[in-house]
């Protein structure tokens, strides 16, 4: 039954993807992209990746759509030119697709427990997580502790991308400051979105905090929580106008959050060295190594959440301020 449901979702996904490429209305393409993200998230859930599904739903269907729409507002909604070298591109793409499909016949069968990917290092992590880390969610344990270096690197990539966007788009608000009042109203004059938004935003924020601090026990963690909290504040900005959102969380605070996350993460790593362990070795943070690991993961997840929230909101405001 689940197999058939998966096939149904994947077929819908392919149809959506074809529609995205075929339409010349970019607005339609972005909206379909949101649907595609949601379909992929549902698929991830069927494939037992609850954490990934949550991230894809929050980031792909939520934040990414908003950013694309922000960019469309500053550029154009229609794709004017026809594709270039259509026949050649189509031939290349079909040939490559056929080669990849031919290669899939050599892949281990779907869900095979004896596949090399399942028998190499994965069992070690599943076996040792309760003993070393003592938290139920193996994904969080690997993300935060076993592979802490990787995650630190990812946080810095997110941070760098945020800085890059601010370099490209920041500080351009002065020229258009004249027409500020028009756009900054948001949807304040529309009763229904406003009432619904007011009811929803506190619960979205609460859910974000739950996902943040429940990440050790269920699906969740800093990346997802950061995206959810950012989505709640972006919703507030869309409903009440960007100016109001900026008065709740001024740009200086956002820049602080952006820097705070990686700093907190790095500081936890350094604390490991100071207390006599290795970089990002949380066992020494507490007399009981397992407690130390849990404390370390809690702190670095907080760092990740703060950083992701700060970066996503700073990027959103950079796009929104450009439109003024």
């Amino acid at each position: 039954m689940i197999v058939i449901f998966g096939i149904f979702l994947l077929t819908l996904l392919v149809i959506t993807a074809i529609a995205i490429v075929r339409t010349d209305n970019l607005f339609v393409a972005v909206m379909l992209m949101g649907i595609a993200s949601l379909l992929i998230a549902a698929n991830f859930f069927l494939l037992d990746a609850a954490d990934v599904a949550l991230t894809e739903a929050a980031v792909g269907a939520g934040i990414s759509t908003v950013l694309f729409l922000g960019a469309l507002a500053l550029t154009s909604e229609r794709e004017r030119a026809k594709s270039s070298n259509r026949l050649l591109s189509f031939t290349v793409v079909v040939a490559a697709a056929l080669i990849v499909i031919y290669a899939t016949f050599d892949k281990p069968r779907f869900g095979d427990p004896e596949a090399p990917a399942q028998t190499h290092v994965a069992p070690w992590y599943l076996e040792k997580t309760p003993e070393y880390i003592g938290i139920p969610n193996v994904v969080t344990a690997v993300l935060g502790s076993f592979r802490g270096y990787d995650t630190l690197g990812e946080v810095f990539v997110v941070f760098t991308a945020g800085i890059g966007v601010l370099f490209l788009l920041g500080g351009g608000g002065a020229a258009g400051a004249l027409s500020q009042d028009k756009i900054n109203e948001g949807l304040r004059h529309h009763l229904i979105p406003r009432v619904v938004g007011r009811v929803l935003i506190p619960f979205i924020l609460l859910f974000g905090l739950y996902v943040q601090f429940h990440g050790e026990y269920g699906p969740g963690g800093g990346f997802q929580a950061g995206a959810i909290v950012a989505a709640a504040i972006i919703l507030y900005a869309l409903l009440e106008g960007e100016q109001r959102a900026l008065s709740v969380l001024p740009e200086r605070v956002l820049l602080g959050l952006m820097a705070c996350g990686p700093l907190l993460y790095g500081a936890v790593g350094l604390a490991g060295i100071v207390l006599g362990g290795n970089f990002l070795d949380y066992s020494v943070l507490s007399p009981d190594p397992v407690k130390g690991q849990q404390l370390g993961i809690l702190l670095i997840e907080a760092g990740v959440g703060i950083s992701v929230t700060g970066v996503l909101l700073a990027i959103f405001h950079a796009f929104a301020a450009r439109g003024r």
């Binding site: 197999v3 998966g6 096939i7 993807a17 074809i18 995205i20 490429v21 970019l26 393409a29 992209m33 595609a36 992929i40 494939l47 037992d48 990746a49 609850a50 954490d51 990934v52 991230t55 980031v59 934040i63 694309f68 922000g70 960019a71 469309l72 550029t75 030119a81 594709s83 270039s84 070298n85 793409v93 490559a96 697709a97 990849v100 899939t104 016949f105 779907f110 869900g111 095979d112 427990p113 990917a117 399942q118 992590y125 599943l126 969610n137 193996v138 690997v142 993300l143 990812e154 990539v157 991308a161 945020g162 966007v165 490209l168 788009l169 699906p219 963690g221 950061g226 970066v311 796009f319």
Partner: protein, 117 residues
Amino acid sequence: MELLGLYNYWVFAILLMIGFYAVIAKRNLVKKLIGLSLFQAAVFLLYITMGKVDGGTAPIFPEAGAVVFSNPLPQVLILTAIVVGISTTALGLGIVVRVKEEYGSIEEHEIQEIDER
């Protein structure tokens, strides 16, 4: 049933190439970025598919009892990749907005014409 198991991989291949087609054939820069996002999504699907184990559940230990878990490692990789992906997409969109401001267009061939003048 054997071939049904490969369906996920076929969708991966088709989705990957649909995204790639948008990147190479479309001239609109935003459309190229949308294609790149589709390409990324296809790679995510491949990784998560490879981690699935028959009869498994999400790798979160229940209160009691032993169960079969799917592979947590691809999930960790893709979880961070999604967030990094949105950051780089945002950077790309930032560049597109600046290109529009400087050239007045986001169509590749028009930008090239202006450059050649």
